[in-house]
């Protein structure tokens, strides 16, 4: 039986990827941010799962204005880094797990989550920056990855509650997979940020840290927070935080917090990072 053995959340700011790719991680601006991931890198080197289900959002790379899927599951054998207008990031091609993805697709759809299934998907910084933060710059990623792209660009995105329930359904799906695999679920995006209008640069560290506290200990009520509250308290792009509820739902009722990091700024954004272990793991 496959098992979910850990979860994490992290911001996926594109400038972080550029800093890594251009060798700027030791610069004074970036050093404190990357120092905050050292614990995780050591932990991740010890606890390598077979598969990471990586929840992220595409930023006008794979999805154009023509198609806006709310939940899109990567079912292919591999996913190439997207060209976001500066050339693709110099990172390894992401290897998928098509068999587990097919099982997830079947289980989730029969569980009444009407997923869009992607058999060709280029993955942008939303997916590759978290991999770089956790695994550094290897020749090949040490894990297989099933991308789960969530629309958080065009409103309405899915509700926090729907995300939380999807996470619970992912847990059931993984646990009903026959092969003995270990699986991590990552919920990326956030923390507070706004990239548009006169209010741009908005950061709310009090809200962000309370969000983490509630994500750990009171996710069921946190999931009921309406979109307007995310925009008001975390900024228009802070709505990405709903994706962290997918991770949380997949962990089961109780988690242990292993690590937390919070830092301002990463470009226009508050950087937040959590590592958790489900109580039953």
């Amino acid at each position: 039986m496959a098992r979910i053995t850990a979860g994490l959340t992290t911001s996926h700011i594109p400038a972080i990827g550029a800093a890594i790719d251009l060798g700027k991680t030791g610069e004074p601006y970036w050093q404190p941010l990357f120092a905050g991931y050292e614990w995780t890198k050591a932990w991740a080197a010890r606890e390598v799962p077979d598969v990471v289900i990586l929840v992220y959002n595409d930023h006008a790379s794979a999805f154009t204005p023509e198609v806006v899927p709310t939940f899109a599951l990567g079912c292919a054998d591999e996913f190439k880094p997207a060209d976001e207008g500066y050339g693709p990031r110099p990172v390894p091609v992401v290897q998928g797990h098509a068999d587990l993805a097919a099982h997830l697709a079947q289980s989730l759809i029969l569980d009444e989550f009407d997923m869009t299934l992607m058999y060709k998907l280029d993955v942008d910084h939303g997916l590759t920056v978290p991999l770089s933060l956790v695994y550094g710059q290897p020749d090949a990623w040490p894990v297989r990855v099933i991308p789960l792209a969530v629309n958080v660009v065009q409103y309405p995105p899915p509700t926090g509650h729907r995300c939380y329930l999807l996470g619970q359904a992912i847990r059931r799906a993984v646990q009903s997979y026959g092969e003995d695999l270990t699986v991590h679920v990552w919920g990326t995006g956030g923390m507070s940020h706004q990239l548009q209008g006169p209010r741009a640069g908005f950061i709310n560290s009090k809200f962000d840290n309370a969000f983490f506290d509630r994500l750990i200990s009171d996710p069921g009520n946190l999931a009921l927070m309406p979109h307007i509250e995310y925009v008001r308290e975390a900024g228009s792009e802070g709505i990405e935080l709903v994706m962290q509820l997918i991770m949380r739902g997949a962990m089961g009722p109780t988690v242990e917090e292993l690590y937390r990091f919070y830092h301002v700024p990463g470009s226009n954004t508050a950087v937040g990072h959590l590592v958790v272990r489900p109580a039953d793991s």
Partner: protein
């Protein structure tokens, strides 16, 4: 307009990219996506007006692009992740481009971010004034 969308109008200095705005900005955002291809970036840079005239955008949308008036582009249905293709073509970072929407110069904006970002105080609600 539904309650869901009109509620967002109470957030100061913000244009939430709703399904209605996505329809309004469809051609503008499609033009932006075309700049993902290097050959299109070159053609755009060589003659911006001529390139824009190939797209069934409104004149106001075209003028906002020519003026690099990002707030106007947001008003006309643009979304930041599509508009990013324009400022990438101009060689600007998110930080540089985003600062132009705030009325601050880039140095002041960068300093604000280094000092913890824009405080939520006074930016939550027009109605509540908080």
């Amino acid at each position: 307009m539904t309650d869901y969308t009109s509620e967002f109008d109470d957030i100061p200095g913000t244009r939430v990219f709703t399904a209605q705005r996505a329809k309004q900005g469809y051609q503008l955002n499609q033009f932006c996506m075309s700049l993902m291809k290097p050959e299109n970036r070159e053609r755009f840079k060589a003659d911006e007006r001529a390139y824009l005239d190939e797209w069934p955008m409104t004149e106001a949308q075209k003028q906002a692009v020519l003026d690099r008036d990002y707030n106007a582009m947001l008003d006309l249905g643009g979304n930041i992740y599509f508009l990013a293709k324009i400022f990438a073509t101009d060689g600007l970072s998110y930080l540089q481009a985003v600062s132009t929407m705030t009325g601050m110069n880039i140095d002041d904006y960068q300093q604000m971010m280094l000092h913890g970002g824009r405080s939520p105080e006074g930016w939550r609600s027009v109605k509540e004034g908080n």
